[in-house]
């Protein structure tokens, strides 16, 4: 049995060596796969440019308001939202990094993504319909708009906006890391000419920037449909074919167990585990819960939510979005399949780069044309979230920094123009970041970004239910959470490279229980916000006014916006009348 396993692994390894890189990491260009990727990329680019004409009135061409450009006209129904949010949340980096983590160190660092995306949707179901309602009534475009309206505090809304922008930047950069992994295994990465190696990435990003500028949120919403079709085809074929081909799940898990339980020479302990031991239970569930709480604090997820046409669209999506979790689970397991297959993820510098595992597995196991489809799916899967993230970050800048701090009376058209421009700057920034810095710093910053964005949770989520907290208390909690999270993450040292920011797990303060740093920081944040609120209340410090009303939190699409409600005769929407007559 063992001999059989070994010979299988050896033959698979041999196969990989034949098509894969040589010892220096140089590999031949796979022309068939590359051409498939280019053709699909061109198709997507054309769709992206046509998107500005999709569901727009001829009079609204050019998308001259944030509602049109940045939120796609606030009119997406259940299915478009499903694709948009799916494309938004399951990024190229997810497809690349989760299986890579499984391949390198097993369940605790990779498979927690499955419970994470399961508990995510009940949280969305509860919170996001309320955020939608209040945003719909007040015309909020960003989470910081809501915080500003709820607490009447410019400082707090700027803190939320800056946290959102800073946390989103490395997230965009990671999408580029995903595209780069695809380009590397296609043979375009080379250690001889760095400019030529980066050129395809630059071209991809210029095209992305151009259609995001013209089409706004409509572009990623349309492209997400293509992306999902490709991704689902690739995953279904891979899951139907690969496990059987490599001797069934039993053998795959056997090979994974063998590899992961071997001792890592750098640390003296095993590489990981297929089934987590009791010592990592707390890390596992806090990673899952903390990531789920953080995800919908990211501005790009809020953008996706606010672009929907009704309150119930979000709730219906919370029921159907888990389909993606299933896909994510099987993708994660491809990391183990790659262990069994003996995939050699060798980067252009000749070193092992776990990020290349899934692209390489596809290239080794399937005909070139099909690998091309799968690799294109991963690359396009990077373009969708990168576009939404840059739109969300520029909306935050426009609304909560440009308008709130510098130009209070900006017209909707000026807002849209600023946002379009900033979306370009954000993407160029991410590109420079990826070209100029190494991948690990992008990953470290993304890890920090997750911890930081979680610190906006008390301001946003508590605000959806209660006005109990004081704005200064929330600001103090936010600052304490950011400070603790940053220091704690800095103190995590990678045992192999001795670099700081080596992971996101550290002992909970005053205990020896290892948990996700984001959760520890969140607890500190919440405790400080509560204590400071009580203290300020004891001293009878006057709080600012709340411009929202209880009824705003249950409003639906046909309820008038606040501006309309304040007029003595709320004007009836003609479309609304039409439907009314149809119904009665």
């Amino acid at each position: 049995m063992t001999a059989h396993l070994l010979s299988l692994a050896a033959s698979a390894g041999h196969l990989a060596a034949a098509t894969g890189p040589d010892a220096h990491g140089n590999r031949p260009v796979n022309w068939v796969a590359l051409i498939v990727v280019i053709v699909l990329f061109v198709v997507v680019a054309v769709i992206g440019f046509l998107a500005s004409r999709w569901r727009t009135d001829p009079s609204a061409r050019g998308l001259h308001t944030l509602d049109e450009w940045g939120l796609g006209g606030r009119g997406f129904g259940t299915w478009i939202t499903w694709f948009l949010l799916g494309g938004d949340l399951y990024t190229a980096y997810t497809f690349v990094a989760v299986p890579a983590a499984m391949w390198a160190s097993g369940a605790v660092s990779g498979f927690f993504a499955v419970p994470y995306t399961i508990v995510l949707y009940p949280i969305v179901f509860l919170l996001m319909s309320r955020l939608w309602s209040v945003s719909h009534r007040h015309g909020y475009v960003t989470p910081a708009d809501f915080v500003g309206g709820r607490y009447g505090s410019r400082w707090l809304s700027v803190a939320v906006a800056v946290t959102g922008i800073v946390a989103t930047m490395p997230y965009i950069a990671l999408q580029l890391v995903g595209i780069k992994a695809v380009l590397t295994v296609l043979g375009l990465g080379s250690n001889t000419n760095p400019f030529m190696a980066d050129l395809p990435l630059i071209i991809a990003f210029v095209v992305l920037a151009a259609y995001t500028y013209t089409g706004g949120l409509r572009a990623p919403a349309l492209i997400a449909i293509v992306k999902d079709i490709l991704i689902y085809i690739a995953i279904i074929v891979a899951i139907a074919y690969l496990p059987a081909h490599f001797g069934g799940w039993e053998n795959i898990f056997g090979a994974a167990d063998k590899k992961l339980s071997a001792t890592n020479p750098a640390t003296g302990s095993p590489f990981g585990a297929v089934i987590p031991g009791a010592a990592s239970f707390n890390a596992y569930w806090t990673l899952a819960l903390g990531s789920a709480m953080a995800l919908f604090m990211y501005p790009h997820s809020v953008t996706g939510v606010l672009s929907t046409k009704s309150r119930n669209t979000i709730r219906r999506n919370a029921m159907v979005l888990p389909l993606y979790s299933l896909m994510l689970g099987f993708l994660a397991l491809l990391g183990y399949v790659a262990i069994k297959a003996g995939t050699q993820p060798i980067d252009t510098n000749g070193a092992i780069n776990a990020q290349l595992v899934v692209p390489q597995l596809f290239l080794d196991s399937f005909p070139s044309w099909f690998s091309g489809i799968a690799l294109a799916a991963i690359a396009i899967g990077a373009l969708v979230p990168a576009a939404i993230m840059s739109i969300a970050a520029s909306n935050l800048f426009t609304r909560n920094i440009y308008k709130d701090l510098f130009k209070k009376n900006a017209t909707p058209k000026q807002e849209a123009n600023v946002s379009k421009l900033v979306s370009l700057i954000v993407k160029v920034g991410a590109l420079v970041f990826v070209l100029g810095m190494d991948q690990s710093s992008a990953i470290n910053l993304q890890l920090l970004g997750g911890i930081w964005i979680l610190q906006t949770f008390p301001s946003i989520v508590a605000g959806l239910y209660t006005r109990w907290f004081n704005k200064w208390a929330l600001l103090a909690g936010w600052a304490a959470g950011i400070l603790y999270g940053t220091i704690a993450a800095y103190n995590v040292v990678n045992p192999a490279t001795h670099a700081h920011f080596g992971g996101s797990i550290a002992a909970f303060p005053f205990t020896s229980v290892p948990v996700y740093i984001g959760i520890s920081a969140f607890v500190i944040n919440a405790v400080i916000a509560t204590v400071v609120t009580l203290v300020l209340r004891a001293f009878k410090v006057k709080d600012t006014t709340d411009s929202t009303r209880p009824s705003d939190y249950g409003a639906d699409e046909n309820d008038p916006k606040v501006a309309a409600a304040e007029q003595s005769q709320p004007p009836l929407d003609p479309e609304l009348d039409g439907r009314g007559t149809r119904v009665s």
Binding site: N312, P322, G554
Partner: protein
Amino acid sequence: MSDPDIPTRGPAKPVPYVIAGILIAIAIIMPLIVPLYAFAEPTLWGMPFFYWYQLLWVFIASGLLGIAYLIMRKEDRRRRQAVRGAGPQAATAQTSAGDGDGANGTGTDTEGDAR
């Protein structure tokens, strides 16, 4: 209408929200209790329990949310009808008119608005 706070919904009955809340809480808490499922056995098609149990929860959580959605939608419609003064008959007619897309969920509200 000098007061801009037009109520969008009538007063809530607690029971539907409590039931929906319990279902949602189960969907959040159960997948996070790791000691319940950190085992290799029993395997399913060679996949350890740890893995297939968590994948199974994708469906269970989705189902729980679906039930919570139906409960809350029913209560939500009743509250909107209450505030708009439409009769309970209209509410029933709307509920049975279909389930599915936004046009339906909003149909109820639209009717109320148009009156």
